[in-house]
């Protein structure tokens, strides 16, 4: 059974209370259609479990198959460095069929972040190391595609429709 090798830590993007009984970690890729499919499901899961669940998103761009995955991840990290990670994360997944530098700059504008700064960060690959660190940690933890979920540190194998995730999280309670 594969387990999360990098514990949730303050450098992570976290939604929810640190004392929550459940931690759901997703390794995801903004260009992956399965991650796009999981996005509203995770929102429903968060709503259902409320304060009992915290959610963590880590980057796992599959660059060989998704040419925009890395730049999208770096754009989200840029937004994160300015306190707007989740706003960017959501918008990228909501617009995953039109990922491009134009979209990132448009979203930066919308989030009142400086598009010119984002452009420079992308050119300089400022957040590449951060994205790589997530990826490497994911590989070490047995991430086997995107999305890969870990529930309280254990990899969730199998489907990830709402009922599957809800059931797996409930099971982690006992």
């Amino acid at each position: 059974m594969s387990t999360l090798k990098v514990a949730v830590n303050p450098a992570d993007h976290i939604q929810g209370d640190e004392h929550a009984g459940f931690t759901l970690v997703e390794y995801g890729d903004y260009e992956c259609p399965h991650c796009g499919h999981a996005y509203p499901i995770v929102k429903l899961i968060q709503k259902h479990f409320g304060k009992r669940l915290r959610f963590v998103f880590r980057n796992f761009p599959l660059n060989e198959s998704h040419p925009h995955a890395e730049s999208a991840a770096e754009s989200a990290e840029f937004a994160g460095a300015h306190g707007k990670f989740w706003e960017m994360h959501d918008r990228l997944l909501e617009n995953q069929d039109r990922l491009s530098d134009d979209l990132y700059l448009e979203l930066a504008q919308e989030l009142q972040l400086a598009p010119a700064d984002l452009q420079r960060a992308l050119e300089e690959r400022k957040y590449r190391a951060r994205v790589r660190a997530d990826f490497t940690g994911g590989v070490r933890s047995g991430v086997n595609g995107t999305p890969t979920f870990f529930i309280n540190g254990q990899r969730h194998d199998g489907p990830f429709e709402y009922e599957d995730l809800e059931g797996a999280i409930e099971d982690a309670l006992v």
Partner: protein, 155 residues
């Protein structure tokens, strides 16, 4: 079914087609660690399927100078199309004729389905198996076990 070969066993030698006109023998890679990844079939439908995932992780394997070989019973032309479609940067070997012979030597052939198990081997630079693992056929095992096995090789 035969049992999967266990650590300490010398890795059986084989020669398989890697392209329509090229073959590769395991012994050619002596001196470096080798990862053998047996898998059921090309064209698995998910993003980041096992071979696609390993393709992304190649730089991690290369840190250990390890060579990765994918092996299935698919033929060379099928492998070629699959590798091209997924931009794979490592060889896929065709365990095609006699079908599954190499998988059988390693104890990882599913006779009932006529495909390889989802099985992983790490072979050290002297050609000895140091780690082996069979995953449930529907579960992509990821690469954590491989990386741990490479880490555990004597430096």
């Amino acid at each position: 079914m035969a049992e999967i070969l266990i650590p300490g066993t010398p890795a059986p030698e084989f020669t398989l087609h890697v392209t329509p006109d090229q073959s590769l023998s395991l012994s050619e890679l002596r001196g470096k660690p080798v990862i053998l990844a047996f898998y059921p079939a090309d064209w698995s439908p998910v993003c980041g399927d096992q071979m696609g995932l390993y393709n992304e992780i190649l730089p991690e394997f290369q840190k250990y100078r390890a060579e990765l070989l994918g092996i299935s019973v698919d033929g060379v032309w099928c492998h070629e199309a699959f590798a091209k479609d997924r931009h794979l940067h490592f060889p896929l070997l065709a365990d095609f004729e006699p079908k599954g012979a190499v998988a059988q030597m390693y104890g990882v052939y599913r006779k009932s389905d006529g495909v390889c198990e989802r099985a992983l081997f790490v072979i050290d630079k002297n050609g000895v198996i140091t780690w082996s693992y069979v995953s449930p056929i529907a579960v992509n095992p990821g690469a954590d076990g491989i990386l741990q096995a490479l880490e555990d090789l004597p430096k």
